[in-house]
Symmetry: C2
Subunit: 339 residues, 2 copies
Amino acid sequence: MAYDFSPSMLQTAPQHIQIAKVLHHELEKVEKIFCDQLASDLPSVNDLCRHVERYRGKMLRPSMLLLTGLAVSGEPCDGSALQPRHLQISAVVEMIHMATLVHDDILDEAHVRRRGATINTLRGNETAVMLGDYLISNAFHLCSKVGDPKINEMLGQVTNTLCEGELVQLSHRDDLSLDEATYLEIVRRKTAALVGTCCRMGARFSGASPGVENALEQFGISLGIAFQIQDDLLDLAGDPDVVGKSLGRDLATGKMTLPVILHLADEVGMERGETLRLIEARDGLGLRSRLVEGGAVGRARQRAVDLVVSAKTQLEHLPGSSSRDLLATLADAVVDRDA
Amino acid sequence: MAYDFSPSMLQTAPQHIQIAKVLHHELEKVEKIFCDQLASDLPSVNDLCRHVERYRGKMLRPSMLLLTGLAVSGEPCDGSALQPRHLQISAVVEMIHMATLVHDDILDEAHVRRRGATINTLRGNETAVMLGDYLISNAFHLCSKVGDPKINEMLGQVTNTLCEGELVQLSHRDDLSLDEATYLEIVRRKTAALVGTCCRMGARFSGASPGVENALEQFGISLGIAFQIQDDLLDLAGDPDVVGKSLGRDLATGKMTLPVILHLADEVGMERGETLRLIEARDGLGLRSRLVEGGAVGRARQRAVDLVVSAKTQLEHLPGSSSRDLLATLADAVVDRDA
């Protein structure tokens, strides 16, 4: 399957098109490694994997890993400065991301992903559980083929963190008193840690100094948090035809999002009671209007924009290059996207 | 938590008591590594892990890894011949096994495990999905700390195989035409491959020759298949008070087991129609009587016994030792158990 310039990407994220064009050959190689790893001698397993490959969208995590690798080397952005492990570990992190999508769709009872039916909808939760496990297992297997146990250890550490974030989030389902600090800690673990590790590994494989590795991990973490806030906003107020996946899942599954948290933090008495009533009634349209009018949607969006600005300051640790510019472009795209 | 001589073990498996006594100190060390690895800075995650630790039963997989290690070295069975990696990887395989229990309980819609409520029952399927993922992730993380990428690769390979087995089994749900060969291939992947790898790694860490490694892997594979057949028999005809977990789940979830397959292979016409009717009606008691009377339960049991005999011939590749004798004892226990 060729790298997918999907309609949603063309509609909504010109920055991604620019990046995808530059990284086109590398992302195709990543995709080949990804597919080769998942190939089984069992046709029924291959059928499921082909379905999952349809989920592949912006390839944000591989793109960040590859671009940090290129930006650290400071060379022209043509892929020649990349090591084989940049490509292999890009496939690994995409596989982990796919596994989280398959398992998240069970958690969110989601029916649509990238305009297709989710695995849980098509084949039941049981198959979705096992397919996610198959993807996780293959990610670790592929990682071990690189032959550097330190990479396996970093990856194991970040997936531990990711699962912790999901578990803490589940323990706060329907917790209307969840505060912003706890929300940010959940998001740091469940979303941002993996993005940060992508950037750290991209830098490390290109021989970055520890200081540059740290700066780029921080770039990824800030961007990952911004990405999740934007996801929260799209789930609340996105256009389902553009986003291409089930919306309103956060409210339906009792997941507190930043706009809701910011709104509730400013309300007391009957005002607050009215918001809680909308949440408990799962009244998505009513809640959306209230959060827009009260300004919480705007403030959540501003938080994401501020995080992107903060992320971009970390790029000053790098020499000027077209890859560095693309990382900044990609950072802007995180909050500009509609899908 | 001390190693658990549970009532069910005392009632049903004298061989396991013998093995547990000999390996007592090593299994306690394995348990400590297991618990230390799962320790999180998040109390809610630790609560869940404490619940899962209650699932720990016979520690079959660590016991096999440790005993093969001791038997290869041919030394007195006191643990002095073991390497640190024997203990670390024992904790890893037990963690993988725990992950499969947590995810299997979702697939089987099981409510009871080791006399306690399952995670899916207590906290919902969502938490069970993520807790299983947390266990898988920690297993790979712990494995990578040993620092030998070859071990990570072997482990990733076997968990790929395990997931494939589960996925193929799911694709044959309610498939009344499933034949014995396909059944055995599913079981080889989903259960036996991990047991085989335990024995292979135990032998390898003790410096076994490739021939002995292969023989011991085959020992584990044969035993793993026998173990699964015995599990099938217990799910069909076990005493729930002794087994301590939800029974009748195979029939309820459309999973074909060896007694059913053997029985159907001998029937035609109205006779077969009556068996199919019992299966479709999920009539556990009726099916159980029919399979006992028709001899299929006895024949399935004989298959398991034959596999144990075949497994034990592989032990002839080892020098005589008390550890080798204990491996033979453990093999017998696989088909003698009632729980």
